[in-house]
Symmetry: C2
Subunit: 298 residues, 2 copies
């Protein structure tokens, strides 16, 4: 198994993804203000985790990452639309995200709703470039359309957001908490791994295992977030330490104790790595992603 420099891989491919996003948005024949509003939030930074996971999966199966760009861009557009709508006054009512004014603070609420709608819709247009520009088999294209719609819609991300809203101020069980995270953030992560593997013509069996990997990675990511809220350094995590406790939020540590949450984190990381080891991957990119999630300090 080839050893790849994860940092280098992320840096190079992040740039590729961002250039591809910019190129696609710039080509739009649409009123300037909606293009500006879409661009504003797409350009607002972020780790580009979902597209990078997709491209890393492609490379892990020995495929050229470039064929993944349309789908990588699509999943990032969907993630971005969800942030724009989540920040609206009627949802979380946030004025800032990553240190920048939120979309509706700059463009107004109506335009923010429409910019989200536009990004969500445009993501499905961008996916069709797989067929025209990358000569991918249309049946694979339709599978990815279905997979993305399921991951993003009422049975996926939107369903998780609804469950999260419904659960506010209520006492949640561990299963409730898992349902919320598995859907609100987990389903798009799962999509990223599955889409990469699908484009690499992985077998049904391999894709099934990657779904499980995504499940463990997604929950590990969330548990680590909860732990950092207690133990992290404010400057590094970019928000006040202890905000979950202050907001009476149900978290893994509040349900399992801090030690219990740390054990659970290790369980999920180990399970993900064991599954990855059972696949014949060309390099250790996804193993490194698992370690990164467990050890990150922000």
């Amino acid at each position: 198994m080839e050893l790849v420099n994860l940092e280098q891989f992320f840096k190079e491919n992040k740039q590729l993804v961002e250039e591809y996003l910019t190129a696609n948005i710039s080509e739009l024949h649409a009123p300037t203000v909606i293009v500006d509003a879409m661009k504003y939030s797409l350009d607002a930074g972020g780790k580009r985790i979902r597209p990078l996971l997709l491209l890393a999966t492609l490379q892990s199966f020995g495929k050229d990452e470039a064929i993944g760009l349309p789908v990588a861009a699509a999943v990032e557009m969907i993630h971005t639309y969800s942030l724009i709508h989540d920040d609206l006054p009627c949802m979380d009512d946030d004025d800032y995200r990553r240190g920048k004014l939120t979309n509706h603070k700059v463009f107004g609420e109506a335009m923010a709703v429409l910019a989200g709608d536009a990004l969500l819709t445009f993501s499905f247009q961008v996916i069709t470039r797989l067929i025209k520009e990358y000569k991918i088999d249309p049946l694979t294209g339709m599978k990815l359309v279905e997979e993305l719609a399921m991951a993003a819609g009422p049975e996926g991300m939107v369903g998780g957001q609804v469950a999260d809203m419904e659960g506010e101020g209520k006492s949640l069980s561990l299963n409730d908490l898992i349902y919320i995270h598995e859907h609100k953030t987990g389903k798009l992560l799962e999509f990223s791994l599955v889409a990469g593997a699908t484009l690499a013509n992985a077998s049904e069996e391999e894709i099934k295992k990657l779904r499980e990997v995504a499940y463990h990675i997604g929950l590990a990511f969330q548990i680590k977030d909860d732990i950092l809220d207690i133990e992290g350094e404010q400057e590094k995590i970019g928000k006040r330490v202890g905000s979950d406790t202050a907001n009476d939020k149900v978290t893994y540590p509040s349900l399992l104790t801090l030690e219990g949450a740390k054990d659970k984190l290790q369980e999920h990381i180990s399970a993900a790595k064991a599954l990855l080891s059972s696949l014949e991957l060309k390099n250790d990119l996804l193993h490194q992603v698992c370690d990164l999630i467990g050890n990150r300090d922000h």
Copy 2:
């Protein structure tokens, strides 16, 4: 050319479309409240113009309408999501639509935003049933995904909505007005005709003509709306006569005079029918649709 009873065709197929919509929404594995919110607006009635145009086009090319159901349902879901978002307080701030409370008045603003997002996303999931249940060629499926995303997104319906908002309170030219209607309502109508023809394996040339038919039908529909606002009977059109003038809205009659608008309406209807006559259609359904648009009293 076979003569078909349009009223009968609409009645039977409206029921088919509504049953198909209900069946698809009912199967969702999602939190009850989001399914209820999606259903509420889908069940709120309406003429189902877009799905019926799609099925009428299929039958005009001699194909079984049933294969059009997934796409017909998808376009109706997109239309419905656009109404939910348009009614939001930050957009048109409407409390009622077709005599029923708007989505956000029943489910709250946050849930209405999410119900719209869910319907928009789910529409692309439903389209993929073409492949699995109706054995349609996946390349045709991908073409329809692209066509629907273009018609609904920033280059289509969303772009028209933005232009409409930007134009409020400004003096618009006839070209501005055409841009708004062509995009805000025209593009989904165009999609309906093009999708029906695409599923019927129509030629590029035929599809090009149907795009022009859709252009004329869409503008004729809008001009007739503007005329009814001046000459219609309040009980039939369901809103106060003269509301456009009272709201200082730029309309066809305000730009062309009432007589000029009536002439323009007839021009568009004639142009649409001439184009239809140049196609070898199996029946007169689409001709009847043109007459209906020109002669309707509500």
